[in-house]
Assembly symmetry: C2
């Protein structure tokens, strides 16, 4: 029997963990620098919390947990109709935003608003696995809830810019606003079909312009002349937010004015205000780009939407987010606006690997600084005392546990990339010295035990 793991899931080796931890720690440090506080929520949520929040497609992708007890027997013996709740009442977290909204409502009396929280946890989706798409993956989210100020959008863009600058990944920060998309829906008299419109538009990168046109037709959205919209886009695309100027989004704005789409005009105002404040206060290392075809799939966005693309690697977005005006309303707490972003650690990892950005980070190096070779019973005790002393001084040290051949022990040190090896045989024990081998240079030196820390560069 060859053991395996469920498809779409992964094991992470020590080398991968070092790189992943570097990514997590970097993002976490930026979140803390901006005053976000960490929370965690359970992996399982009640299905009543999860269902209906991610669209029809999302509901299908929820991992459901079988109720405890002899459920299968009950199903087999049941004469009457089996209700869903008899079989499953809990599901695995699909994202971090909905559980966060649930958290906010449930703990509203303990929370100081505006609440800036971050959360680094796994999510699960029963999606078809493919390159870069997993059934279990981590999200790193930062959200501000309980504040309408656009300064929050500004802060999130600053965070995005800072994180990817630290990673040395050049990115484009794409922005749009759901209010602009609402305006377009008004332009075409399609307000009640807004959700369908968003879902189709969201696929533009996957299925192309023609695909979008076909799907719009299928959904009966024939009124929308998507080519006209995209001509506006191509105009807007030319207007990269490179200098914080007013960007002459006037073409779209004029259309909104003509049809008196308040919401559309509000969207334009917001996009411009956010970009202006960013440019006025921050030296961005990456560029912001307005993209009217940016829709984002999730139902709950109502304002600014952000998506971040790596410039030099063909891969989906590496970060995304937006404003949601009434996510907590579903749970009984209306009129609380929130805005957040989510970093996709797995894609960031893939991008860093492709751009060979890990090489400079020395994530390969072992955390163990010195290995003591095991020569036998007496030497063992002698060495273990030394190892214990070194550890007390904060130096990560190991004694090889078995009395294996020296060659095997040396190759262990080599494979583990441990920089120093100590060899203590009978002679060394007598003289109270330690033979220290620098594994990089191959140099060997006889040193007093009190010199070890110094020799390996720890004093």
């Amino acid at each position: 029997m060859k053991p395996s793991i469920p498809k779409g899931t992964r094991d992470f080796s020590p080398a991968e963990m070092q790189r992943r931890n570097y990514i997590f720690e970097t993002i976490k440090s930026v979140f803390l620098l901006h005053g976000f506080q960490q929370i965690e929520t359970p992996a399982m949520e009640n299905l009543s919390v999860l269902e209906g929040k991610y669209g029809e497609e999302g509901d299908k992708l929820l991992f459901r947990i079988l109720n405890s007890g002899p459920v299968l027997e009950q199903i087999r013996n049941s004469k009457s109709e089996i209700r869903n709740a008899d079989v499953t009442e809990k599901g695995l977290r699909y994202d971090l935003t909905v559980p966060f909204a649930r958290y906010v409502v449930q703990h509203r009396n303990e929370i100081t608003f505006p609440f800036k929280r971050f959360q680094i946890q796994q999510v699960w989706r029963a999606d078809r696995p493919q390159k870069g798409r997993y059934r279990e993956f981590y999200q790193c989210d930062a959200d501000i809830i309980g504040s309408n100020s656009l300064l929050n959008e500004v802060e999130l863009i600053q965070i995005v810019d800072k994180v990817f600058t630290q990673f040395k990944i050049p990115v484009t920060i794409k922005v749009n606003n759901r209010k602009i998309l609402q305006g377009i829906a008004e332009l075409y008299n399609l307000k009640e079909k807004f959700k369908d419109f968003i879902i189709v538009l969201d696929k533009i990168e996957k299925i192309g312009l023609e695909g979008v046109e076909n799907e719009l037709k299928e959904k009966g959205l024939t009124q929308i002349n998507i080519r006209t919209v995209l001509i506006r886009q191509s105009i807007a695309r030319g207007l990269k937010f490179t200098d914080g100027s007013d960007m002459a989004l006037s073409d779209i704005n004029n259309a909104f004015q003509k049809c008196e789409s308040e919401v559309g005009m509000k969207g334009i105002t917001e996009v411009v205000a956010i970009a202006n404040t960013v440019y006025e206060t921050t030296e961005l290392k990456n560029s912001i780009e307005f993209d009217i075809s940016l829709a984002r799939g999730l139902d709950y966005y109502t304002g600014a939407i952000i998506e971040v693309k790596a410039k030099d690697v063909q891969i989906g977005s590496v970060c995304g987010g937006g404003r949601y005006d009434d996510l907590t309303g579903i749970f009984g707490l209306p009129n609380v606006s929130g805005v957040g972003i989510s970093f996709g650690v797995d894609r960031i990892y893939d991008v860093m690997e492709e751009l060979k950005l890990f090489d400079a980070l020395q994530t390969e190096q072992s955390s163990t600084e010195i290995l003591f070779v095991n020569f036998g019973e007496k030497e063992e005790i002698f060495c273990l005392k030394l190892v214990t002393e070194l550890r007390s001084a904060g130096i990560a040290a190991e004694l090889y546990p078995d009395r294996d051949k020296i060659k095997k022990q040396m190759s262990y040190a080599n494979d583990r990339k441990i920089p120093f090896v100590a060899l203590v045989g009978e002679e060394e024990m007598k003289s109270g010295k330690v033979k220290l081998k620098d594994m990089n240079s191959g140099e060997e030196k006889l040193v007093g035990k009190e010199q070890i820390a110094e020799m390996i560069g720890k004093k």
Copy 2:
């Protein structure tokens, strides 16, 4: 609708997260000091990996995941017998040891043995929730696999001692050996009922001596005179491993010699050897205690077993582990011995809280060092520039995003325990100064913006 979370699960607030992170980081740093390497495995494993590894009881406590797709519909429409695999093929991790064994077998060609790995992840058990017992909780495990040396057991005891010393939690490190329990089973001619014996003995703290006697009877284990065994225990209990002496476990050893129980004698030898090496090489801060009634519930232990109890708090064990000689054998890789320990973070948290050990750690303090009050549109931009500069200098800073009343903003700083507040109104902007308030002393000072870092103690 009031949202809630599944019973036995928990949300963790920012304050709790700070304390929990302190516990995780402390344990992790000791693991790294001892040369352990981190891995992660998926939350879900195939049921074939999980089932049959935790005893009958354990199988019942597995959380099973409903297969994807329209499973419920299929069940309803199915005319034929529903097989388990039609409904569920995956389950949530029950502990970290079995997934680790699976990992080792699956990745054996990439691993350098002996493999010292640590893993800090959640596990799920469909147990009846009660105080200190959750359905979702973290385990922090360190295991060495591919080495028979008792030096590994020595190292794990050192780690336990170090971790609890850092936490300032006085503990007793209880040890026993499954081989001694096997010897006792041989003593009573009960070799084939060994598993039952272990399961019953493991309950001694919960159900007491009489309870154990009754259950032994129920299982047909009437031959075992548990009182006689426990007299030996009480003798052994007197022989605390306080000085590394030979401990005169002779009473039990004699009994093993009489019935020629090789395994029993081997167990005694191991217990003595481990204790002697610990005492010879390490100044322990906590005491080791031999406890012949220590059984540990899991099927796979074959050698040393360890359980750690807090001295001053009535709570289950805070750490436990042992040696398993053939856990990877189940997955097709025989003759690979492993030994490990697992720290129970939730109980450690409860103990630290009860002993008020968090108070001295200042985990309450916000990570944000300074909050800029928001006085309005112009001030916003002025302050955001300063905030951005401070963050570039590595100082965690926030600008309050909304133009709320000053009182509300000050109470935000207060609730968040942010030590400094900067007030910049029209006058301050004109003079290029910042009014800095020390939230602890209440003192206010007008300072130049380049002095802020210095004032808040960051230069």
